[in-house]
Subunit: 160 residues, 2 copies
């Protein structure tokens, strides 16, 4: 089975050292199971005020994100309104993906969310939780869950 | 309105420095909004094998947990099978709690879960996600969400 090739496209830099270290920790653990690349994009710029400011920021971010998506990749966006799955279901989804398209782009939006057009383009809009997580924490959850899923797929115990 | 008095009772020590730092980070941010105390308990001991080993471990952990719960406190246990809420709903729940009982115990089980009898005793069985999180990550999510909820309750912007 081909190793899965994952690109995480995320808005916003990670300021906190502990979050960066958490990401490095799980990225390292993922090494035997996946090729992982992370593209960290600067937050979008606002033009105008109020609701228009938000829309223009999302539009700016959507353009930056689109440039980083690979045409042939399976596109999974993370959004609180998306579909939830248990770790076992997500593992089964990824196992199937390894067979049909071992190239996956994951998108994590910034503080104000993600433009609709990116969500509409996605193959899966996935939600961790009804709760609103900060995007840095969402990135940690994503890598930890990917690692956990590969352990499930391989039938290996989760290294505590 | 009285400041809420929170006790987090959690099974398992935190080995990773980055998780400890993340917890300290959010504990510090919570200071203006809540009195926070954390009781970290050692993992339970197994007696016997197979399913019985799991049951005996959960029973051992349940006893340790019970000794740390305050009779007069509102009891919230975290479990993947619990009820999910958005951050806004959780904030409304906590706001109400501040009025009716400003003392809350939160319980986070260990690697194999939480004994049924602790769940049955709870006032709320709360779930972050259908996903299985490591207990260290669950502790970070809990403190971050508590902080986020108090920001919502006070109508203050979330400090990024």
């Amino acid at each position: 089975m081909p190793i899965i090739d994952i690109r995480v496209v995320a808005i916003g830099k990670i300021k906190e050292k502990f979050y960066r270290e958490a990401l490095e920790h799980y990225a390292k653990r993922l090494q035997p199971y996946a090729r992982l690349e992370t593209v960290e994009l600067a937050e979008g710029k606002e033009a105008g005020r109020g609701e228009f400011a938000r829309t223009s920021l999302l539009e700016d971010e959507a353009q930056k994100i689109s440039r980083q998506l690979r045409d042939t990749a399976h596109l999974i966006v993370l959004s609180p309104e998306g579909q939830q799955m248990s770790t076992e279901k997500l593992a089964a989804y990824l196992k199937n993906l390894q067979r049909i398209n071992p190239r996956a782009d994951f998108v994590i939006g910034g503080a104000v969310g993600l433009a609709e057009k990116i969500k509409q383009k996605s193959d899966l809009c996935f939600s961790f939780s009804l709760l609103t997580f900060p995007h840095r924490l969402a990135r940690v959850v994503l890598l930890e869950q990917l690692y956990r899923c590969f352990k499930v797929i391989r039938g290996e115990p989760y290294h505590k």
